[in-house]
Amino acid sequence: MQSGISWLQSGIRFDVLGVTLWLVVLVIQDVRHRLLSHWLTTVPLIGMVVIAVATAMINWLEGGWSPFVADPVALILAFVAVLASDTWAALVPAVNALVLAWWQGTPAGQVAVTGWLVALALAKAGIWGEGDAKVLMILFALYPDVRLAIAITTAIIVVGLVMLVRRLGGAFPFLLLITLRDGLAGRFPSRTGEAGVVVTGLMPTIAAGALVYVWGLYLLGG
């Protein structure tokens, strides 16, 4: 029975204040420029992958194959999908990552890998920016918890609906229906080139959801 380094489960938890500061700086960048710097998104994301490689190797050497090796390996496969995401070939590592995480990984690994691939898919569909997607990936690597997904999803739904109602009034359900019809027909923004009717920066919403989760964990000791 090997314990392994469960960095996905217990987490390499950066200090709560550090994560808060990082999110605040990202929100400021978003509000000012609608762009997020590579130093705060791409570099930490690659850092997560380096940690995953090291974790997989250490856990493998300690006790051979186990869920604690499957988790980081699945995350590395998800990153290969990121690297290959200019073509449909990315589906091969993406599917392998999902199968590995859900077949042999821990629940934490399943949340992290699924979160990474959903974030990537939404960015490739043109629904949100690559910067937003990378922030989500970093958050899911740090806190692979379904409660984080629920917090951010709730924030997006609430803020999204409020903004849609403010912009369109009672007609907003029709826009959602038209969007749903377009989506089912495969007419995503990345294919049609349409920006969308209500386009806005997303970092404040993501940060709000993430901070509720992070500070909730910290204060409630979850």
Partner: protein, 48 residues
């Protein structure tokens, strides 16, 4: 690699709301199916 080079921080809200709802619905269905299959496999294993 376009993804890694990208730094955009904007989202199309109507798409995002629809996508979140679809992902949540499909996720819930898959989770339900997964749980049902797991329970059935556990029942089979227990009966052996």
């Amino acid at each position: 690699m376009k993804f890694l080079r990208g730094v955009r921080a904007t989202a199309s809200l109507e798409w995002l709301v629809v996508a979140v709802v679809i992902v949540a619905v499909i996720g819930a269905i898959l989770l339900g199916v997964f749980d049902a299959v797991r329970d059935k496999l556990a029942a089979i294993r227990d009966s052996l």
